[in-house]
Symmetry: C2
């Protein structure tokens, strides 16, 4: 089993990825993002991201109902269905699912953030949270019957409300069940870079044991990615490849040694 994570960047070569997938002999499933599409749609709709700052000074994105609507349109709607369409054009028998469908990805909603408003303390709670488990029955039912799940956020919380969640965390709970030997992450970079400003500084190999040190080395999204990778290995991953999703043959290149192999 292989998990293929398709990044949500604007430059990701979906056609190239799906064409490569059609030639795979290993069973696989797809988890995809759509952040560029979501941001573009938010811009067109005049619906900017809301950010709140907690009393402790920590800023975070606030996913209100409109943000979830947007997520359903961009992730579970447009991006998911265009990937599914591409898959069928290449003979890949895809079924697109959000975490809501059959409660495929179940999570726990975040408890809320304390904010100060007009001198008063409020607890504000958005629609976001952490995945906890997957509907293994539905996942196995599809996989064992020749269907390739194409999975996106949102997921469903403990009271059956749609919530936003991080894709790396979604992959983590899926991995706990499917125990994929290989996880491919197709991103908008050639791999893990020794120097973030130098695309030629790809680190070809990282060992599991080095991950904590690499996490210290980087900042922002890549730092979160490193932490997510550590959790993936805790969940039984044997190999993770972070590789360029923008090239002509993203998956063939990754399997032929391009990108960063973590094992």
């Amino acid at each position: 089993m292989m998990i293929v994570k398709i990044g949500g960047g604007a430059a990701i070569n979906l056609k190239g990825i799906v064409a490569d997938l059609a030639d795979l002999t290993t069973p696989f499933l797809i988890v995809h993002g759509a952040n560029a599409l979501r941001d573009q749609l938010a811009g067109r709709l005049g619906q900017p991201k809301k950010v709140i700052t907690s009393v402790s000074g920590y800023s975070s994105v606030f996913s209100d109902e409109a943000a979830l609507d947007l997520m359903m349109m961009a992730y579970a709607g447009l991006r998911n269905k265009r990937i599914v369409e591409l898959c069928h054009q290449h003979g890949v028998n895809a079924v697109g699912l959000s975490g809501l469908d059959g409660k495929l990805v179940q999570g726990q909603r975040n408890p809320g953030v304390r904010v100060k408003e007009g001198g008063k303390l409020h607890l504000v709670r958005d629609f976001s949270g952490k995945p906890q488990s997957v509907n293994t029955h539905l996942l196995d039912l599809l996989l064992n019957n020749g269907y390739i799940p194409v999975i996106s956020v949102p997921i469903i919380d403990e009271t059956n409300v749609a919530i936003n969640s991080d894709n790396d965390d979604v992959i983590n709970v899926i991995q706990q069940h499917v125990r994929a030997k290989m996880i491919l992450q197709l991103i908008e970079a050639p791999g893990f870079l020794e120097n973030p400003d130098d695309p030629d500084s790809v680190v070809a190999n990282i060992t599991k044991l080095e991950l904590a040190a690499r996490e210290e080395q980087v900042a922002g999204r890549m730092k979160r990615k490193m932490l997510a990778l550590r959790k993936l290995f805790d969940a039984g991953a044997q190999t993770v490849i972070m590789s360029d999703g923008r090239v002509e043959h993203p998956i063939k290149d990754a399997l032929n040694g391009k990108g960063t192999r973590i094992a």
Copy 2:
């Protein structure tokens, strides 16, 4: 088996429908629209419907790629996932699917329309067509394993391209396989009206044999609906109820004799 068609009007009471569904003892599946949502989104995005006029003077909606994107966002994305979420909140184990997923609803793309442009004849072809068949394997797999399909357009054509299609036609090909005894159509009207301007003129019963005459009586969308109904009976339907989707208990009311019963 019961097929529940949820209209895409803005006033349809989704919560009431889903709450009623949770109390049903018959197995069922859902096919839904989202036209009000689609139109609203199109307005916000400044993306009006395109209409073309053929050389023979016939006007029709032209579904270009952007129109299909919109359909994926509004139907397969936002509306489908909010219905699925509502279902789980009421204990209905819903899985949302477009006709693309697992090629659930396969159709044939329309051949195109001849238009005159700058004095020259062109054949213009949009992304629309007629459903021909369903993936009975996937539909049965879900139904036999405790999942309730929640189905929306787009569907997939003979070359695996996403196309728009009429929901009544979609229901027709589903009915050819599932042979539902009862088909519930929840619309923004109290039923079939003797006088379209008088909501109190609901015709309580129509026989199959009367359908052709009723088709002559009406115009526009309702005329198309009457034709679709005739096809449903050809496909083995025993009872179709057209009833008000805007009331507190749309399904309970329909089953208790409100609306128009065609049998």
